[in-house]
Symmetry: none
Subunit: 177 residues, 2 copies
Amino acid sequence: MVSPAGFIGQYRHALDEKGRVSVPARFREAMESEEGEGGLGLYVTVGLDRCLFAYTPVRWRAVTQSVRTTARHPFASRDARRFQRQFFASAAFCEPDAQGRILIPESLRAAAGLRRDVVFIGVEDRIEVWDAEAWIREETQGREDYERAAERALDLGGDLDAATRRHGDSATKEEIR
Amino acid sequence: MVSPAGFIGQYRHALDEKGRVSVPARFREAMESEEGEGGLGLYVTVGLDRCLFAYTPVRWRAVTQSVRTTARHPFASRDARRFQRQFFASAAFCEPDAQGRILIPESLRAAAGLRRDVVFIGVEDRIEVWDAEAWIREETQGREDYERAAERALDLGGDLDAATRRHGDSATKEEIR
DNA sequence: CCTCTATTCCCCACTTTTTCCCACTTCGCG
DNA sequence: CGCGAAGTGGGAAAAAGTGGGGAATAGAGG
């Protein structure tokens, strides 16, 4: 069953020659639950650290909201325009076909260096799409730095529960096949 | 399907000898949905950074409003008037033919340095038209700053838990001027 | 005022790309 | 061992993109 709260786990799939890839079934369900709330599909854009970020329509609205306020006026500073361009131009709305696959545009595949094998990663409110090899490197690297990064990124002083709970229920079940 | 929120993505097309280009199908649909609300077509004018700005009739009304008020600014009145003149004088309403192509007037093509290959870019509430090579340069330039800015913008938009939000600030602060 | 020319507009035709659908394989589960 | 769900591949239909002919229109020049 899907975790109601957010996306967790990692799933390995293959891109075919047309650039299509199956959305992991677990993620698909969460995506469908938002039907009527903004269409069926995922907004995919260039993420950080050479991967793609994918959001459900509802989450996407929240993300664009903050980008919009970065430069609310179309004739704002040059930097603001550049950022807006980069952000919106690299995004795409990907709708699944009857088999639950989405087509990832060439420009996005190139941006994340996706080849044949890709990995979908649930990261709470977004899904990340990695080239399989790149993900292995990132994962390895991440494991080493895990504790150190956690200490910097999370506030270990106060809200221990929230951070711990989340990792507790995900870990064992969702391994890559 | 159309992205419900605004224009996103990038599409490369070719100008023919008559100065026509296909409007990307994704954008065309959004344009059509406004029929009856102000006609079928795009308002195209000189944009910033050597590209063209294109708006649907509905958006155009909003933009003219904001340009008008900008011009009232007491300190920038001279520049504002100049900008206003340029903006409106070079604007053209381009209606698509049966194939979904619009004819971009020679003066606008020259203003944006459009040659054969052009790129349409969705930037939320406007469409930008770039010469293909110029866009590649712009994109390359923008990418450097992109990750830095994205770290901040994406954090603000997501539905992050309290711990992350509290420390998202300190994590990225050092990298922002 | 008429004619000639250049431009615009409206189709038709062709090619490429995208979308849709069907079918096969694999895997998990009872 | 069978069944259904998930993942993958590929062919066919539909849509999108592109090129170009020729009628209609407008403008310049005689």
